[in-house]
């Protein structure tokens, strides 16, 4: 621990954002890194707890107190090594992770956690700047070959780990570039895409072959593909969106969030948009349905398009701004979270359900919402009750549906393989072996666990790599 009394001496100070007025003018990141002396103070706040609750909070098992201490002692290189020992891509999580570690931080009992995510990000950014991040090439090849299908964070982590274990790995991606939702879902203003490119470069050097533009299950029959490999890992994500089945849904101006976001990301990186119509929010009254992170990304993107207004609706009730920490900490609490995109001027409303879209000329003009209540029933769960007489009309030009994803795409690869699915329609596999009902076929990430965070995807990719390695070799030295 750097400084036993650091937490008593220094207050939390996190990264600032560039001013709204400027940042909505571009698609670049706008987070202002902490100056080095402030960073050291922030790292000194870590108490090196006897039980680091941040461990429990962090899905990739980041060894947080250790690298906080290293930063305090300005040993960034060693800090980067420790960071990489649990996380393949800390520059991703350092930007877009909601940081459950900070919720679990002991100092968060007083709403004042260590700026863990900021410290993480600064370590890895520094490491790249100093050119400390090198390919870790394993010269002892195993002669085993593995196909990893889907190049989101789970697939990338899995492929990288397997290559480092000496296996021959091919990473398949249906899109033009590697990254999955990292690249096509998350707006550049939250994470710029060159960060992915340099990782791809590193992985290529480590021996991962990138097979982009190949939609397995469509372009290549999966059964065919399997013949060439000793193991196959499915990391195709959970791409089937949750739908809103109300009258008027099929009108113009009602779009899926992911279509909207991926178009914009392609636009930013000068990739061909490759679809029939452009979805743009400029000068429009935009309504985003769904109060989660994707919705928030739609909000930010809409502002950058130059939307007139952006309203975000959520069916659940408004969470409290403050929670009773004694009853929640160190768990992830339901509380009001305001993103940088919300701060850019969004109107947010809760406890509303969409009854129907009103359409003129095949184009949406407004939607009718109704207030709902949530009531505890006798079974211990809660029921949704619509409150009579609370209908309202919201005029709109563009509605973006961001209500999450229900399960992976079944059609094609999953269906062709015939692997067993779980109750929710995800591919069934446990978190020890990660093996599907088909021997030699593994599954990790959202495709296995359903929609989730990038950090969970990385965790599963790593653990799955361990399982595959063990499956192939009888034992594995890869860390889980």
């Amino acid at each position: 621990m750097g400084k036993p009394t650091g937490f008593m001496e220094f207050d939390l100070k996190d990264r600032d954002y560039g001013p709204v007025i400027e940042r909505v003018q571009h698609y670049n990141e706008f987070v202002i890194p902490l100056p080095p002396d402030e960073l050291i103070k922030q790292s000194a706040r870590c108490m090196d707890c006897g039980i680091p609750y941040c461990h429990q909070g962090c899905p990739v098992d980041n060894i947080i107190p250790d690298w906080n201490d290293l930063v305090y002692r300005s040993e960034f290189k060693k800090a980067a090594e420790v960071l990489h020992s649990t996380n393949n891509f800390p520059e991703f999580t350092g930007r877009i992770c909601p940081a459950p570690c900070e919720e679990a931080c002991t100092l968060n009992i007083d709403d004042n956690p260590v700026a863990i995510k900021t410290i993480e990000c600064s370590i890895i950014d520094r490491a790249w700047d100093e050119d400390w991040v090198k390919p870790e090439i394993n010269l002892n090849k195993t002669r085993k070959s593995i196909a990893v299908i889907g190049s989101g964070p789970a697939g990338m982590a899995c492929a990288q780990q397997l290559a480092r274990a000496g296996h021959t790995v091919k990473l398949y991606e249906k899109n033009k570039k590697i990254g999955g939702l990292l690249r096509y879902g998350i707006p550049d203003f939250k994470m710029e895409k060159h960060l992915i490119d340099r990782r791809v470069e590193q992985m290529t050097a480590e021996g991962v072959t990138m097979k982009t533009g190949i939609n397995v299950g469509v372009a290549v029959k999966v059964n065919e593909l399997m013949k060439g490999f000793d193991a196959v890992v499915l990391t195709g994500g959970a791409e089937t969106p949750r739908e809103l089945s109300v009258p008027g849904r099929n009108s113009d101006g009602i779009e899926l969030a992911m279509d909207f976001l991926s178009q914009q990301n392609r636009r930013v990186s000068y990739e061909e948009i490759n679809c029939t119509k452009e979805i743009l929010a400029n000068d429009k009254d935009v309504i985003v349905i769904g109060g989660g992170d994707t919705g928030s990304d739609c909000v930010g993107t809409s502002f950058r398009h130059g939307a007139k207004s952006v309203t975000q609706l959520e069916i659940l009730s408004k969470p409290p701004e403050k929670v009773e920490k004694g009853l929640t900490w160190p768990n992830w609490p339901m509380k009001l979270r305001t993103s940088s995109s919300h701060e850019e001027g969004a109107i947010r409303d809760w406890s509303v359900t969409t009854k129907k879209f009103e359409v003129e000329d095949g184009k949406v003009v407004s939607l009718i919402i109704k207030r709902v209540d949530w009531a505890q029933n006798n079974n211990g769960s809660v029921d949704l009750i619509e409150v009579e007489g609370t209908e309202e009309r919201l005029p709109t030009d563009l509605v973006l549906l961001a209500m999450g994803f229900v399960h992976p795409t079944h059609q094609g690869m999953v269906a062709d393989l015939g692997v067993v699915l779980d109750d929710r329609g995800n591919v069934k596999a446990n978190t020890i072996e990660y093996q599907t009902s088909m021997p030699g076929v593994f599954c990790a990430g959202d495709m296995r666990r359903g929609q989730s965070l990038v950090v969970w995807a990385i965790r599963e990719g790593r653990q799955c790599a361990h399982a595959v390695d063990k499956f192939l070799m009888g034992r594995s030295n890869l860390p889980r």
């Binding site: 937490f7 039980i51 060894i63 679990a104 009992i109 002892n140 030295n477």
Partner: protein, 1543 residues
């Protein structure tokens, strides 16, 4: 094996664990005038020591007593004439007292064996005499095993030229007789025992109360039985099983003490077998083996060894000095020749280390000696008629005062001897000077001694490259924690690191991770029967000197100066030192060293280790036979192809092999290992025979880190610091067991094994206790191989890093913990929401160990059968919670908020909270407006006695004597000055800003009879409180608990070693003591077998977290349950493990006002949790069919071990000994159902209270006259309790109750005397005068008619004013050792003191008008002392670590108190930085006034001459704190009021 009723080893009970302590004494006529009077007086002494012994379950069954006298020649002549035996002249025949079987044929077989041997050895057998005895004085149980006792008369054979030779022959006969009878396995052979067989002495002893010795042995009352000496002994043993032969006196001595290093001493004696030769014994030497019978008491073993030395030609005094040497190294006051004597003899034999008062005689000389630290009392009186009376207490024989010419005490390490033939007393100085001059010891040393540190440096290996170091670190299991918590802090600070909270990780045998062999051993420690030592404050008795290499012939009296010796000043060798040894033959021809490789090919796998060890042992043997006298066991050759045997295993295997071969003393054993790194590792290597150790990898590691440290230090500095830290740590571990020298620690095996199979232990760690079985060589080797494989393999995590460890702090990829983010958050959420549902999730997580084993109880399963009852029939939770207590946590270690929260919660539900060590504010005794109370029901009395006043004790439902603490048994503590704020200083009766030290031992408990005394003291102060004794679980704790029960404790707590702590060396947190399951089960079994269970309540704690834990504790035998850490967690603790840093972020373990505000706990949270636990217990009870807890206690038959243990290590565990249920029949209680008899009815205080009634009820002054005897113990305490009950700590006005007495005050005279009581005694007193003095006044002076000079004679015993908080004392005469130890406010004047005066003192004033002993003011952080230094050597006698010496200043006069009248009462405590002259003079005037001291008068009459000779002892911290307090200046009135707080 014995004439005893000791039960067989059963369950966890093992008779080998028995301890005894006692009272000893002798009477002798210096001129060797034999008379029956001496015998009679001896018996009187014995009777007056009765209270130092004990009785068992049956009050008639004493623990044994006896008397040893010279052979009564006239008596035997006349008696033998009647029997037709013709006795030769005096000294030409020997008499044996022989215990024989009652059964006739067995008896005659034994008799024939004796007679045959006598003839075979060339002596004449003269005949038998039946000893007349009266067994009506014995209890039934003892009568059952009463031996048939006969006397054998043996005439000196012609071959024996003199009596000395004849005595040797009788010794040889006796030894062989024992062996022969044992080997023949005659029926009744266990009865056969020869107490004495000598031409000079005879011993009468047996299993009876002291007062019955004379009635049983009728000879003793025969007027014709005459002797010039009588040596007597009253035993207090921890068991209740009668054992005739363990009674004392033994053949040459009686011993009050304990040999802590016994196992090592026995091993070393056995190791000498082949190297020992004696010109006196010649071939007879071989007939003496086995010299020491297994299972003897430590005293008997000591006697055996002494006997050998005497037979081998040593004089009595010489032999005693060899076995119990004074602390000689670094003693500037010891003359050079004596020092050389001791240094020379150090190579001959390791000390028999431990507290000891030994009285010894060979019939011609009689004497006594004390251990180096003076841990047992011994007082003596010499009369004008040449009578000497020595005893554990003074006043044991009524002698007219006008006859006494000297009253003195034995001092630490000193001896005194009466030579009856010369007819004079030889004092220590003369005796030892003569022996020291007998040979040119210094010259011999100069010729033969080589000190390694002083040898020229040789080239040392350079540190290897990073990869090699990393691989080795990994192969030896280094973790990141080793670096972070151990090596770096040690190398930078030179301290053994400190941590907090308890151990909650699995035992090595349960862990999934490969563990080091060290982790399977637990350090043992001293509790009750012997005291631990403070290695810092009492450094003068400690020594780390180690002698490497062959030891000289112990009996080679004429070979002095021929034997080369190799010495290291401390046992950790630098790389350079090791190279010196490796090349020793180049410089010193007498030495030849060789390095034995302890690595073997990795390809041989785990199975290869066994044969490698065998080869290694053979190799060691061959090397020794080939003349190599230093063996270096080395694992330096470890690499990918070669795996190392664990260094500890290699060391112990070779050590024991060489012992068995009788070759061990022919060679030294040095270990070169990469494995050892923590203090515990080195202690184990030492404990199993390593004379010196080189941890090369630790040095390499430090070297690598050297340039990364923020403060640049040189590698050699860092390494030196690391060695220093190890040394300190080793000293601490040694001192925990009360061992003071490395030489006796080496090979002493002060460890218990947990999780090792007994086969493995017996083979490689012979005679180490192992309670639960476990892994063997296969698994141990497997762990080594696994680590090795990972180290040299391609493990990604280990590629450039060490394993995380995760033992000290929870870590991903680290060790399993009980307390995890999940368990803690669930417990807290459940307690805060009162949600049983979430609690169930918590307890399920805690209890379920199906996937990961975490503790022993995880291996238990309830035997549910069809006896379940409806839950409504089970006693309600509200009853069960009354059996719950929270742990002892001091106000000081935790915040006021946290402390009172627990108290309020426990008071609401009828459980108990515990003050911990550190007092309690008096406000907390009042009930709050809402009916709550913050008063802790349990008041702890710990070694520091902080805040232990009469009022405090009076406000207790239970008084707990803390003998040890689970997280740091055998250790003291320290509260740094910055943590002592105003409130803490107030409750601890100390000064804000001044650090406080808790000594490792209670200075009034060095033995079990001392504990009995303290229990008696506390019960007197508060007869309504239960007196509890807190012990820590370890193998053998059961017998201690039995002793505690016999010492009349109402309650005993068996604390698991895994309990929490606010601060403790990590070494102790992890490695000292055993889990509660083992200690509790042993305690319960032993108490039941002893029939003592019913009268004592048994509590356990140390990691109880759920209802299942409680149920198992009950079934293993606990009546009550302590839940400490979990109740803190319910209050908000999150296991930061930062308690020692004062930075607790949840306001618990901190005094920081800002952090304290963060405390969020509520009493309801604790209550909710307690009820959840109780409800969970109820559910288990219902299923098991127990309607009440009482019905469940001790029902271990309803538990079984989980059958399906597949764990590769845990499957070897066998818990059946824990589950053993002794079958004692229905009449023997198995839970607490009776009360102890404290014998308070006979207390003198009952009379005092009656007489003081007007004062108590109306505050009217009373005067009482009384006479006292040594058997009147704890005078004044019960009366003081009555005063405190009515008047609190403020008490009554001075002298309201004035007691004038005459005689010898018993132990604890004036203990806890309340303000308003004065006792003036004309006479003298024993130990513990004014213990816990709470404002009363004590005046002691010698009787007017005595001719002795008061200032040259002793007037009060040892350890006066221990823990005194206020009051005044005037003692005309000299006091014993440790005067005013831990005094925090009393004022005392005395005319001379022994060693360690004012130790740990924190307040008050002490004036010494005469000589002092050594180590004055050790650990003294407050208060002041004035010493008259006439010899001008006080600076050498004073420990200057914390104090400075000043001349007496004369600025300003003290203010007179407002109510000062005729005498002029002054405010003596006012600003102790100044007014010294005035204060000193006033105190001496008071002293003269109260005691009529001629010394004081002389000084005052010559004041100007004496004043410059006075020295003021001023603690540095104290002065600083006083100066800080001076600002801002207050007005006079305020100052006078303010200082009253000190009283």
């Amino acid at each position: 094996m014995f004439v005893s009723g000791l039960p067989e080893k059963q369950g966890l009970y093992d008779p080998a664990n028995e301890h005894d302590n006692c009272g000893i004494g002798f009477v002798a006529n210096i001129k060797n005038h034999k008379s029956h009077e001496i015998v009679r007086q001896g018996l009187t002494v014995l009777e007056n020591l009765t209270h130092r012994g004990a009785a068992g379950a049956d009050p008639l069954t004493g623990d044994g007593a006896g008397i040893l006298i010279q052979l009564p020649h006239r008596f035997f002549q006349e008696e033998c004439q009647i029997l037709g035996i013709k006795l030769p002249k005096e000294e030409n025949y020997g008499v044996g007292i022989i215990f024989l079987p009652q059964e006739e044929s067995a008896r005659s077989a034994c008799e024939n064996a004796v007679v045959d041997l006598v003839k075979k050895e060339g002596q004449r057998f003269l005949g038998w005499r039946d000893l007349p005895t009266d067994n009506s004085v014995l209890s039934k149980a003892v009568r059952d095993i009463e031996p048939y006792i006969r006397q054998a008369f043996i005439g000196r054979g012609k071959a024996c030229l003199d009596t000395d030779a004849f005595e040797r022959k009788l010794f040889v006969i006796r030894k062989q007789a024992h062996k022969l009878v044992r080997e023949k396995e005659l029926s009744g052979e266990e009865s056969f025992y020869i107490p004495t067989l000598s031409a000079r002495t005879i011993c009468f002893k047996g299993m009876m109360l002291a007062a019955r010795v004379a009635s049983y042995f009728k000879d003793l009352t025969d007027e014709r039985v005459e002797s010039a000496l009588a040596l007597v002994h009253q035993r207090f043993s921890t068991n209740t099983f009668p054992s005739w032969e363990l009674s004392q006196p033994l053949r040459f001595l009686c011993h009050n003490g304990e040999i802590n290093t016994l196992r090592g001493n026995i091993n070393w004696m056995a190791a000498r077998r082949h190297s020992m030769k004696s010109e006196f014994l010649g071939n007879d030497l071989q007939k003496l083996w086995p010299l020491i019978a297994d299972g003897n008491s430590d005293s008997a073993t000591f006697d055996n060894a002494l006997e050998l030395l005497l037979a081998g030609g040593y004089s009595l005094a010489h032999a005693m000095m060899l076995m119990i040497p004074e602390a000689w190294n670094d003693n500037p006051l010891m003359d050079k020749e004596r020092r050389a004597f001791y240094e020379y003899h150090a190579a001959l034999m390791e000390p028999w280390d431990g507290p000891a008062a030994v009285a010894f005689t060979n019939g011609r000389q009689i004497g006594a000696t004390l251990d180096r630290n003076g841990l047992r009392p011994a007082r003596y009186v010499v009369t004008v008629d040449g009578l000497v009376v020595m005893g554990s207490e003074v006043g044991v024989l009524d002698i007219p005062d006008d006859k006494i010419v000297q009253k003195w005490r034995l001092q630490p390490g000193k001896m005194f001897l009466i030579d009856l033939e010369e007819g004079r007393i030889i004092d220590d100085l003369e005796l030892k000077t003569e022996l020291a001059k007998a040979h040119p010891y210094q010259t011999w040393l100069n010729q033969t001694q080589i000190i390694i540190e002083d040898l020229a440096t040789v080239a040392e290996p350079i540190a290897p490259n990073h990869q090699t170091i990393l691989d080795r670190q990994q192969a030896f299991g280094y973790t990141q924690e080793d670096i972070k918590f151990f090596l770096l802090p040690m190398a930078t600070s030179g301290q053994d690191p400190v941590g907090s909270m308890g151990r909650d990780i699995p035992h090595a045998v349960l862990s999934d991770r490969p563990k080091l062999l060290y982790d399977y051993f637990k350090q043992s420690f001293a509790q009750v029967t012997n005291p631990p030592i403070d290695p810092i404050r009492e450094e003068l008795v400690m020594s780390l000197v180690s002698l490497i290499g062959p030891r000289p012939n112990l009996l080679g009296l004429d070979s002095g100066g021929n034997h080369m010796r190799l010495e290291v000043r401390q046992p950790i060798l630098s790389n350079s030192d090791l190279e010196k040894i490796r090349h020793i033959q180049d410089g010193a021809e007498s030495f030849k060293s060789t390095t034995l490789d302890i690595c073997y090919p990795t390809s041989d796998g785990a199975d290869g280790m066994k044969s490698k060890i065998e080869n290694l042992c053979q190799e060691a043997k061959t090397s020794v036979l080939n003349g190599y006298n230093i063996l270096i066991l080395s694992d330096r050759s470890i690499n990918e192809e070669n795996v190392a045997i664990p260094a500890l295993l290699a060391t112990s295997a070779v050590h024991h092999h060489l012992i068995r071969e009788g070759l061990r003393t022919d060679t030294g054993l040095v270990i070169e290992t990469g494995e050892a790194r923590q203090v515990h590792d080195f202690c184990l290597l030492a404990g199993y025979g390593a004379e010196a150790i080189n941890p090369y990898l630790a040095f390499d590691t430090i070297t690598e880190f050297a340039n990364q440290l923020p403060e640049r230090s040189s590698v050699s500095e860092l390494n030196a610091n690391y060695i220093k830290a190890l040394d300190k740590g080793i000293l601490k571990v040694m001192s925990k067991m009360g061992i003071s020298t490395y030489q006796s620690y080496c090979g002493a095996q002060i460890f218990d094994a947990i999780g090792l199979s007994s086969e493995f232990v017996e083979k490689y760690f012979t005679k180490t206790a192992s309670a639960i079985e476990g892994v063997g060589l296969r698994e141990i080797a497997g762990e080594m191989i696994e680590r090795h494989g990972r180290a040299y393999g391609d493990d990604h995590v280990l590629r450039d890093d060490l394993d995380v460890g995760g033992e000290l702090a929870y870590r991903i990829r680290g060790e399993e913990h009980m307390w995890t983010p999940e368990t803690i958050s669930r417990l807290q959420h459940s307690a805060r929401m009162n949600s049983r549902e979430i609690y169930d999730e918590y307890s399920a997580e805690m209890n379920d160990q199906s996937r990961k084993l975490k503790n022993l109880r995880g291996l238990f399963k309830f035997k549910f059968d069809d006896h379940q009852i409806p839950i409504e029939e089970v006693e309600p939770a509200s009853e069960i919670v009354k059996r719950f207590v929270t742990g002892a946590m001091s106000f000081g270690s935790i915040s006021f908020e946290a402390h009172t929260n627990l108290a309020i919660a426990m008071n609401r539900i009828g459980g108990k909270s515990n003050t911990g060590e550190g007092g309690e504010q008096a406000e907390r005794y009042k009930t709050l407006a809402n009916g709550d109370t913050m008063r802790s029901a349990i008041k702890q009395v710990a070694s520091g006695r902080f805040g232990v006043t009469t009022e405090y004790l009076r406000n207790a439902d239970e008084i707990q004597i803390k003998m040890a603490q689970g997280a740091k048994p055998g250790e003291g503590g320290q509260l740094p000055g910055h943590k002592v704020d105003n409130i803490i200083a107030e409750v601890r009766y100390s000064t804000p800003g001044v650090g406080l030290i808790s000594p490792p031992p209670h200075h009034d408990i060095y033995s079990i009879e001392d504990l009995a005394q303290l229990i008696h003291d506390l019960k007197n102060v508060n007869p309504n409180a239960r007196i509890s004794v807190k012990l820590v679980s370890i193998v053998g704790v059961g017998t201690i608990a039995a002793g505690v029960s016999k010492a009349h404790a109402d309650h005993v707590l068996i604390s698991g070693a895994e309990g929490g702590t606010g601060a403790s060396p990590i070494t102790s947190i992890l490695h000292a003591g055993a889990p509660w399951e083992i200690g509790l089960a042993e305690t319960h079994q032993t108490l039941v077998i002893n029939k003592l269970r019913g009268r004592i309540c048994v509590q356990t704690d140390g990691g109880i977290r759920t209802g299942r834990d409680v149920a198992i504790a009950a079934m293993l035998g606990a009546d009550e349950y302590g839940i400490a850490t979990a109740s803190l967690i319910a209050s908000g603790c999150i296991m930061m493990r930062k308690c020692h840093l004062n930075t607790c972020p949840v306001g618990i373990a901190t005094q920081d006002p800002d952090l304290r505000k963060k405390f969020k706990g509520q009493p309801e949270h604790v209550i909710n949790y307690m009820f959840f636990v109780a409800e969970e217990v109820r559910e288990i009870m219902a299923e098991l069919g127990f309607p009440s807890i009482n019905k469940m206690i001790g029902r271990s038959d309803k538990l079984e071990m989980t059958k399906a243990i597949e764990h590769w290590k845990a499957k070897g565990i066998d818990l059946s000994r824990l589950l053993y249920k002794p079958d004692m029949g229905p009449n023997v209680a198995i839970y607490n159902s009776e009360k102890q008899d404290h014998g308070l009815k006979n207390a003198l205080d009952n009379i005092l209270i009656k007489k003081a009634n007007p004062a108590l009820e109306k505050g009217r002054p009373v005067k009482i006259e009384m006479s006292f005897q040594n058997i009147n113990r704890t005078v004044g305490a019960m009366l003081s309790g009555e005063v405190a009950e009515r008047y609190g700590h403020a008490g009554l006005p001075d002298d309201t109750i004035f007691i004038k007495g005459k005689g010898s005050g018993g132990q604890s005279f004036g203990a806890f005397l309340s303000k308003g009581i004065t006792i003036e005694l004309e006479g003298d007193t024993n130990d513990y005068v004014g213990k816990g003095l709470s404002g009363g006044h004590l005046i002691v002076y010698p009787p007017k008619e005595t001719p002795i000079k008061a200032e040259d004679n002793i007037v009060i015993g040892n350890v006066a004013l221990y823990g005194a908080t206020a009051g005044e004392c005037y003692f005309r005469g000299v006091a014993g050792e440790r005067f005013a130890v831990r005094n925090s406010g009393a004022i005392a004047v005395v005319e001379g003191v022994g060693d360690h005066c004012c130790e740990y003192m924190t307040g008050g004033v002490v004036v010494v008008l005469g000589a002092t002993g050594r180590n004055f003011a050790a650990g003294m952080s407050g208060g002041i002392a004035y010493v008259l230094d006439e010899k001008e050597d006080f600076d050498v006698r004073c420990n200057l670590a914390m104090v400075e010496l000043e001349n007496i200043s004369d600025e300003g006069n003290l203010k007179q108190k407002a109510d000062g009248e005729s005498l002029g009462l002054y405010d003596l405590m006012y600003d102790m930085n100044e007014h010294d002259q005035s204060r000193l003079k006033i105190l001496i005037e008071y002293h003269m006034h109260f005691t009529d001291s001629s010394r004081a008068r002389h000084i005052l009459e010559n004041w100007d001459n004496f004043l410059p000779k006075f020295i003021k002892v001023m603690p540095v911290d104290f002065r600083r704190a006083l100066l800080e307090m001076r600002e801002p200046v207050k007005d006079d009135q305020e100052l006078i009021d303010g200082t009253v707080a000190g009283e």
